[in-house]
């Protein structure tokens, strides 16, 4: 677990989601997900934001990163993330957790809270054009996740 997670106080987490509730599936794509769920880690309260960038021809990753950064989140949980979004989120100091497939947002949060997700060091794909991943949740089991730096 990283230092940030150990700190107390309000910590907001973003999940890429296919729907507007915690029972929705995690959207495997970050830049082109349907919704962002912004969850307060402490209270469990959440809100959903529709992803306006889902249909733009390019720059979806940056658009998504901007929406998420404006919310002041500390971490992003998703399936795959492209290089542009990865780079700017990383520079903004937002932690990126990938490789979450075939899970509801609620399940993903439980796995995250148990400390079983690892911070990503690399983007995992070209962004919105990646299909849904295989293998479900295993730390390091998503697309390209097993790769060593």
């Amino acid at each position: 677990m990283s230092l940030k997670q150990k700190e107390s106080g309000e910590i907001k987490i973003c999940l890429s989601s296919t729907g507007e509730t915690l029972d929705s599936q995690v959207d495997p794509r970050f830049g082109r997900c349907q919704y962002f769920l912004i969850v307060d880690k402490k209270t469990g309260e959440f809100k959903s934001i529709a992803n306006e960038g889902v249909e733009i021809s390019r720059g979806a990753g940056i658009s998504a990163a901007q929406i998420v950064a404006n919310e002041g989140v500390k971490a992003v949980i998703t399936g795959n993330i492209g290089p542009n979004a990865f780079m700017v989120l990383n520079q903004a100091g937002i932690e990126i957790y990938t490789g979450v497939f075939n899970k509801t947002c609620k399940e993903a949060l439980e796995i995250f809270n148990s400390g079983k997700l690892k911070v990503n060091q690399d983007p995992t794909g070209p962004g919105g054009h990646v299909g849904s991943g295989q293998g479900g949740f295993v730390p390091g089991g998503g697309r390209n996740q097993g790769r060593k730096n």
């Binding site: 390019r58 940056i62 950064a69 542009n84 700017v88 903004a92 937002i94």
Partner: protein
């Protein structure tokens, strides 16, 4: 001087082959022609003609934003105005410019209230000119690899082409576009008298025909249909689309021909007549 675009939506329908055949026809009629390869991400008209790219005659520059951090007040206006989503700003931090996504439109340095953004020129591509004979000039544009927004190269190349064409007094300029309906294609299609759409009677061909006709309608650019490899596939598949866009006839059908394919694959299309 007539300006004609050759486009098609789908890739591999024979746009470049047709463009070269069109030039060959005009040259045979004694006309002077400039063929412009606007597929700047992977130009290949020169290959079909058995030529090599020589030294570039011109480098293409575009202006990109550069931040003066001392002047920047982190107001975020540049982020909001950017239609290319090429600017990111984390709360409380300076904006970051993503050059690969930037179209160089200049909105950010115009809107910046603190004059903190400077326009900095950078090379994005090259232009090559090849004189094949007295009547036939080939102008090729080439984008810098990994550049995402390539339409500024087409824009700059067209300026060059119009100046060049006036000087040497050409009868026709043929703009051979890339596949697709995105910005570099739109840029190549602008300012033409009409466009030939090279398509094929396949599901993909008709799907993309629908897209390109939709674009040309928006641009109010008249379309003429060239059906390549007309005897293969299912001609019926494109009829409903022609009807939808009120196109009465197919201008020319080109049957599959081993002779063309052979000339194409050997780079021997120069002078080839149908």
């Amino acid at each position: 001087m007539k300006k004609i675009a050759v486009t098609g939506g789908k890739g591999g329908t024979g746009k470049s082959t047709f463009a070269v055949l069109l030039v060959n026809k005009f040259v045979k009629q004694g006309k002077r022609v400039v063929l412009v390869d606007c597929d700047i991400e992977c130009p290949n008209d020169y290959l079909l003609l058995g030529r090599k790219l020589s030294k570039p005659v011109k480098k293409v520059y575009a202006k990109f934003p550069e931040l003066n951090k001392l002047k920047c007040q982190k107001c975020g206006k540049c982020v909001k105005v950017c239609k290319s989503k090429a600017i990111f700003m984390a709360p409380g931090q300076h904006p970051q410019f993503l050059k690969e996504l930037c179209s160089g439109c200049g909105a950010c340095w115009i809107i910046c209230p603190n004059k903190a953004i400077r326009a900095k020129s950078d090379e994005i591509g090259k232009i090559f000119v090849d004189k094949l004979n007295k009547k036939f000039y080939l102008i090729t544009g080439l984008a810098r690899p990994a550049l995402e927004e390539t339409s500024p190269i087409v824009r700059e190349m067209k300026k060059f082409v119009f100046d060049f064409a006036k000087k040497i007094r050409v009868d026709y300029i043929i703009f051979d576009t890339a596949a697709g309906t995105h910005c570099p294609v739109i840029m190549a299609l602008l300012d033409n008298d009409f466009a030939y759409i090279v398509t094929e009677p396949t599901p993909l061909g008709s799907h993309d025909l629908n897209l390109i006709l939709g674009l040309l309608k928006k641009m109010k650019l008249p379309a003429k249909i060239i059906l390549n490899q007309a005897d293969l596939g299912n001609k019926g598949s494109i009829q409903p689309i022609l009807k939808k866009f009120n196109i009465k006839k197919i201008t020319q059908e080109i049957p599959y021909s081993k002779k063309i394919v052979r000339a194409y694959s050997q780079g021997k299309l120069l002078g080839f007549q149908l």
